[in-house]
């Protein structure tokens, strides 16, 4: 019941709410507002990544050397897989905008199919992301962390078409395993109230012994030279560095250590791609809900597919964020 002012004489006029100055419905405008705020959140993360990177600008890991794997293929293919992921996400953006377009023509069959394809694209992307994480966590060559938290990697010079090229060597290929050197602490054979996490596969001494035995292997540290490559130490310097500063064998990356270089790189990678992946995941969930609504004919009855348009905005935004993540994590 209208108990307050019933009529003001301005209904339908500009100041009576009679027009929509922005020519957008409430829902769509709120989606835009959400997107702006979410864009600022992501910018905050990416700018923080930039901060850490500028802080260690001369020793940051080289993305090309970190993400080199493609599922089902062996070998060194930098960027290829992530380019594929980018394409999948752009493609699913296209099917989404086609669904929106079909919605404008009230074509239920087409909207259904395009929504379906969008969901499939989203799932492929999230799956690829999980695989990428798995590969990064597992690592490849292994490295030694120094007392100061830096990373020493190993490799050797090989002849490639007449030119000397530095090729990485896995720690497991040269470390000399000494039997029974170090036993895992268990509460039944030591202090019952102390527990110990898993001990590294190799001790630094074992790696040092391996390095001494293989005179072709050199150490590479994190510092970038003027050509943008990591500095390779001389043989004497290699042995000295490992003996004096080597502390812990690390394989792969997690929130504490990162065999590819600065552990901040791994932290930001997990955090930002994880947050983005979470967005993709929730986007897929929302798309599935809308997909079923389309099948059930909810929007057919409404004579308006605006809900598809709104989730479409969100989905494109996820794509938009990925374009930036791709640039700042993999390219720059």
């Amino acid at each position: 019941m209208n108990t307050t002012v019933a009529t003001t004489g301005t209904e339908g006029k500009a100041w009576g709410g009679g027009n929509q100055p922005l020519n957008a419905s409430y829902g769509k405008m709120m989606m835009w507002f959400f997107i702006v705020s979410d864009a600022l959140t992501f910018s905050g993360f990416l700018a923080a990544y930039g901060f850490s990177r500028f802080k260690f600008i001369d020793s940051w890991p080289i993305a090309d050397e970190v993400f080199t794997h493609v599922p089902f293929f062996h070998g060194n293919y930098p960027m290829i897989y992530v380019a594929f992921m980018t394409f999948v996400l752009i493609m699913s953006s296209v099917t989404m905008v086609l669904a929106v377009d079909a919605g404008h023509h009230l074509n239920k069959t087409k909207v259904t199919w395009y929504m379906f394809l969008t969901i499939i694209g989203g799932l492929i992307f999230v799956g690829s992301q999980a695989w990428e994480w798995g590969t990064f966590i597992k690592g490849e060559y292994g490295a030694v962390q120094t007392k100061g938290g830096n990373i020493l990697q190993f490799g050797e010079y090989v002849d490639v078409d007449g030119a000397q090229k530095f090729k990485r060597v896995a720690v497991s290929d040269f470390a000399k395993v000494a039997e029974g050197e170090r036993a895992q602490h268990e509460s039944k054979n030591g202090l019952w109230f102390v527990s110990e996490g898993s001990i590294p596969e190799y001790s630094v001494d074992e790696i040092y012994a391996g390095l001494q035995a293989n005179s072709n292997i050199l150490v590479r540290n994190q510092i970038l030279n003027e050509h943008g490559h990591k500095t390779i130490l001389t043989r004497e310097e290699s042995l000295k560095q490992l003996k004096d500063n080597g502390k812990l064998f690390v394989q792969g990356a997690n929130l504490q250590v990162n065999e590819y270089g600065s552990s901040l790189f791994a932290d930001f990678f997990f955090f930002i791609t994880g947050f983005h992946g979470f967005h993709v995941f929730s986007g897929v969930m929302i798309n599935i809900i809308i997909f079923f609504n389309v099948i059930l004919g909810t929007y057919e009855k409404r004579k308006s597919y605006e809900m598809v348009e709104k989730v479409g905005l969100y989905w494109h935004f996820v794509d938009l964020v990925w374009v930036f993540v791709f640039t700042f994590f993999y390219l720059v």
Partner: protein
Amino acid sequence: MAQEHNLAIFRGLVKFKSNTQKIWGVLVFLTVITAIEVLLGIYKPESLMGHFLGMKILNWIFIALTLVKAYYITWDFMHMRDEKASLRRMVVWTAVFLICYLIFILLQEGGYVFDVYRDGYIKRDF
């Protein structure tokens, strides 16, 4: 309820016949840009390794191409091209202003911390 769409991109240089056609056109354009980025990223041409305003020219190219992609995703996939100028400015200007501010502050500070590590009394122990 077919909505009005602005079907011209590149400032009217390319004009599409239907909205669907425009979508595919933009996809082709975005794919080409991504391919260029990937190729530059793999081969890293030596000629683009010079520095400009504190960053490699190649990185500036990557950022520019990213902004171009972002523009077409927002304008054509999110239909910003068809929205009213006021809505467009409300969203874009706000975000662009705040993001530029944030990036400037943080990168400036990051560069300063780097200088302190390099030239100052605080040394990283190796």
